[in-house]
């Protein structure tokens, strides 16, 4: 199968709160002081695709829409031996939203050709909108299965895929025919692998396709409409007023007694 995995580069979520700053626009995080990483759910989606290819064969293409710095996550994917990587350059000055991103990804997919499976992460670790996968499915006019944590195919079932997705109460087993958009969530089976050092070195020499918005035929006006549908009117850092009261006492018994008392007061 031909698989496309959409990736996003985000501000490292492990950045401690004390180092988090808001940028000059007052509408987004300051990216200058913190590291940028591949969004974790995108890494889970990539891992799911890699495992699928190991079992069933096929090709994996990764794509990202972003700043030149986003090349780094594509190189990371190349180090995990994906078949090709595409960077769609973000030439816009406006802040992106999931609607604009989904439009660009859909246009890229149309440009690149037929994919049986399009994978995205369930949400991103920065703005966490959780909309891109669903909007992408709508843009492409395809069905979508969300919160998937396992993906395989049975050769006897004419190209259908078997999917496990998480629900509030547990999980569902689904069988679907392609083409399909899938949003991936994490579980113990799709923890991202680490690339081999040799592959990391080689990844820097691999070809990487760079496309502009004009290359994929995205019109500025339709993009402007998408980006205007939501507006960030404010972004603030919540003030923490929590002061932890440590339970004290000379003996463990005494401390446990006081701690239990606090619990009872809270839950009653």
């Amino acid at each position: 199968m031909n698989i496309l995995v959409c990736l996003k580069q985000i501000l490292d979520p492990e950045l401690p709160s004390r180092d988090f700053r808001i940028d000059g626009s007052g509408r987004d995080a300051d990216r200058s002081t913190a590291g940028l990483v591949m969004n974790i759910f995108c890494a889970n989606a990539l891992e799911t695709a890699l495992q699928f290819r190991e079992k069933h064969g096929g090709k994996i293409t990764v794509v990202t829409f972003g700043a030149p710095s986003a090349e780094e996550i594509l190189r990371k994917a190349l180090a995990l031996r994906v078949d090709s990587a595409v960077l769609v350059r973000n030439e816009l000055t406006q802040r992106l939203n999931p609607w604009g991103v989904a439009r660009v990804l859909a246009a890229t997919i149309r440009k690149l050709g037929d994919f049986d499976l399009v994978l995205t992460g369930r949400e991103s670790g920065d703005w966490g909108d959780g909309q891109t996968g669903g909007l992408l499915a709508e843009n492409l006019g395809r069905s979508c299965v969300s919160l998937v944590d396992e993906l395989k195919t049975d050769a006897s079932k004419n190209g259908k895929v078997q999917i496990r997705r998480q629900t509030d109460q547990g999980w569902e087993a689904i069988e679907a025919s392609t083409p399909l958009v899938i949003t991936v969530t994490n579980n113990e089976h799709n923890v991202p692998r680490i690339a081999k050092t040799r592959d990391v070195m080689q990844a820097f020499r691999q070809p990487l396709t760079t496309l502009s918005l004009a290359d994929i035929g995205v019109e500025t006006q339709s993009m402007a409409d998408d980006l205007a549908c939501t507006e960030i009117v404010g972004l603030s850092i919540p003030k923490k007023q929590t002061h932890c009261e440590f339970v004290t006492g000379d003996t463990l018994d005494e401390r446990i007694g006081k701690f239990a008392q606090r619990i009872v007061t809270t839950v009653r």
Partner: protein
């Protein structure tokens, strides 16, 4: 009930009607439950809606929304609502937001302003949904419940033409955890982390949780290690919870975990490390070895709650 509260208040602010929409089988119990909290109830049922299917549900919602022409459509935080929201918004050419803590109306434009937590809880954003209708899922427990109205809602049943989706087929549905209640709705949560060093201590934590009517949860480290089911995971990459009490045992408190508990009313922790970041978010804490604490603490709680 949180979503009805949010809807009721938004309808007042928009000088609009608040309609409870039931897509799929509407039991009498469900109708009775919401009848005093909405101005009207619309039921759209169809044989294809008996078992939840994302594609047919979106098709049903799209058709009924086009007919009703709402200012906004609100959903709760069930996982299937989360997948419906952006897609419905796209089909209605509206705008969307998820995991919303607060809603209000910008009166000049009658657009909806939502507040949500971003960047792992490190910041809070206010976003204007400029294209109507606004399709939103709210963090249900963060919403004040609806107030009882004197008038009972009038019930309308609308017929619906739906095409079956043959592309995606549900094979089976499994309930993984013994608890029927959702973690997102839990009032008390007992959660364990990497410091437990294995699956066994969770049995002890479970026994403790039962005493205070708590549900079990875990950090990403514990879930990734396979000690407990993935559904237990709380944090940025897991569930976002808002209990009255969140008791974190042997959890260091990485920022991605804190994101999931930012809306807990009270956070308490038991950790051997006085400097563990979790304590920066706690109202009260105990610096001791959980192995010596959990058993006696359970006994003490039984005594106090008797």
């Amino acid at each position: 009930m949180g979503v009805l509260g949010a809807g009721q208040r938004l309808a007042v602010d928009l000088a609009s009607k608040h309609i409870g929409l039931i897509v799929g089988p509407a039991s009498d119990a469900l109708i009775t439950e919401i009848t005093n909290f909405a101005d009207g109830i619309v039921v759209v049922d169809h044989p294809l809606l008996i078992n939840y299917h994302s594609e047919t549900t979106i098709a049903a919602l799209t058709e009924v929304s086009k007919k009703m022409n709402p200012h906004a459509v609100l959903f709760g935080n069930e996982t299937h609502c989360q997948e419906l929201v952006p897609r419905l918004a796209h089909r209605l050419n509206g705008s969307a937001a998820g995991d919303v803590l607060n809603l209000k109306v910008k009166s000049e434009t009658e657009t909806v302003l939502v507040t949500r937590s971003v960047y792992g809880g490190k910041a809070q954003a206010t976003i204007e949904l400029r294209r109507s209708p606004a399709i939103i899922w709210v963090r249900a427990r963060a919403q004040e419940p609806a107030v009882q109205q004197t008038q009972m809602a009038e019930i309308t049943r609308w017929p619906l033409a739906l095409e079956p989706n043959t592309q995606i087929k549900l094979i089976n549905r499994q309930t993984a955890t013994q608890e029927s209640a959702r973690l997102e709705d839990a009032r008390v949560i007992v959660s364990g982390g990497r410091g437990l060093a294995g699956p066994d201590p969770f049995t002890q934590l479970q026994a403790l949780a039962e005493v205070i009517g708590g549900q079990m949860a875990a950090s990403r480290a514990a879930c990734d290690a396979g000690w407990v089911p993935a559904e237990w995971q709380v944090g940025q990459t897991g569930k976002k919870v808002s209990p009255q009490l969140y008791l974190a045992i042997a959890i260091s408190g990485a920022s991605q975990h804190i994101m999931g508990i930012a809306d807990a009313k009270t956070i308490a922790a038991i950790n051997l490390d006085h400097d563990a970041p979790i304590f920066q978010h706690c109202q009260f804490g105990l610096v001791d070895d959980y192995r010596q604490v959990v058993g006696p603490l359970r006994e003490k709680l039984i005594e106090l709650l008797a």
